[in-house]
């Protein structure tokens, strides 16, 4: 439970900082940055948090399900804009995948094949 407490603490600290300073980043991301700083600064040891973190990241999708249901509830209200929205989202999503992936591949040192690590079981 120590790991969960630490992760919750950083998440809460991120939200508090976001509210107090009106930072343009969400609390979650601020919490992630603080947590990374703590890991690199050896304030938090990897073994304290690793198990809890693996459990949460292994089931990351679970925490998005409520948002998908919320989005589904709005679909009937899109009306005339539905086609435009569909074209925008589909086109733009594939464009970002293509551009980011291609630029990443081209700017990497000639592949000495990054070793694939084992699949995460979740």
């Amino acid at each position: 439970m120590r790991g969960f407490a630490i992760l919750l603490g950083f998440s809460l600290a991120g939200v508090l900082l976001h509210d107090a300073l009106h930072l343009p980043l969400p609390g979650n991301v601020i919490g992630l940055l603080l947590f990374l700083a703590a890991l690199f600064g050896k304030v938090v040891k990897l073994e304290w948090v690793e198990q809890a973190a693996n459990l949460l990241t292994g089931h990351l999708l679970l925490f998005f399900i409520p948002y998908v249901i919320g989005a589904a509830a709005l679909i009937p209200f899109l009306g005339n804009n539905a086609v435009s929205i569909a074209v925008g989202i589909v086109g733009s999503t594939f464009a970002v995948l293509w551009v980011t992936g291609t630029v990443a591949k081209k700017t990497q040192p000639k592949q000495k094949e990054v070793a694939q690590d084992g699949k995460l079981s979740a």
Binding site: L61, T100, T107
Partner: protein, 228 residues
């Protein structure tokens, strides 16, 4: 009889149950993404018990709160791959910047040429980043935050479900390119999917997600000034 529907245990049991079932289905039907099957199961059950789907998100506050620590937890794979990340700093920054610009410009252009409303145009611009960032950007632009959340979720589902096959077809299989593309295009959904691919892909996806969120927020600052 109907009261149990408003007990927090109902939403929690339904969501986790549907998720567990969806993961089980995935082992039999690997092409069926668990986010689709679990959402379908929940929507069917809600329709059967006549529970308004617009109210469901409010019923599962515990799960939405846990997204916070789950996002923080992405620091662990990032930290574990710090050596490779340090070697690829240039690749990470250039590709995420290119992807973030592409996301804003392409979404805006496509909605503009297909004659979407002004409200939709402003709300779709931040769609590549995770919804908490999208909400803030949309609000500052004068868009509709609820629409932005929806666009960001639909983008995430689409990228998470179809992204891997698309990237494989383009020959972008190495975990660095794969992860950066998935995280920049489909934020948390892309990262969840990348973590199933490999821990390296997952950590680069988490980086792509976090950095594109930061870069996109910064790219909008001149746009606010321009709109005035």
């Amino acid at each position: 009889m109907e009261n149990f529907l408003h007990d927090p245990l109902f939403g929690l049991t339904l969501t986790i149950g549907a998720y567990a079932l969806a993961r089980g289905i995935q082992t039999r039907l690997p092409w069926l993404h668990p986010i689709l099957s679990s959402s379908a199961i929940i929507l069917i059950v809600l329709a059967l018990v006549r529970f308004p789907i617009a109210d469901f998100q409010g019923e599962v506050g515990l799960l939405t709160s846990l997204l916070g620590p789950a996002t923080v937890a992405l620091g662990v794979p990032i930290y574990k791959h710090r050596k490779l990340i340090r070697e690829r700093l240039k690749t990470i920054s250039v590709s995420v910047l290119a992807g973030s610009i592409t996301g804003i410009v392409s979404a805006g252009l496509l909605v503009y040429v297909t004659r979407g409303s002004h409200e939709v145009l402003l709300s779709i611009l931040p769609k590549s980043v995770s919804s908490p960032i999208g909400i803030e950007i949309s609000r500052s632009l004068g868009g509709t935050p609820e629409l932005s959340v929806m666009f960001s979720v639909v983008t995430g589902v689409l990228g998470g479900v179809l992204g891997p096959a698309f990237l494989y077809r383009l020959g972008l299989r190495d975990p660095v390119s794969f992860g950066l593309a998935m995280g920049s295009a489909a934020h948390g959904f892309g990262t969840a999917r990348s973590l199933q691919e490999s821990e390296t892909a997952g950590s680069f996806s988490a980086l792509g997600m976090g950095l594109s969120g930061i870069v996109t927020s910064l790219l909008f600052v001149p746009i606010y000034l321009w709109i005035g």
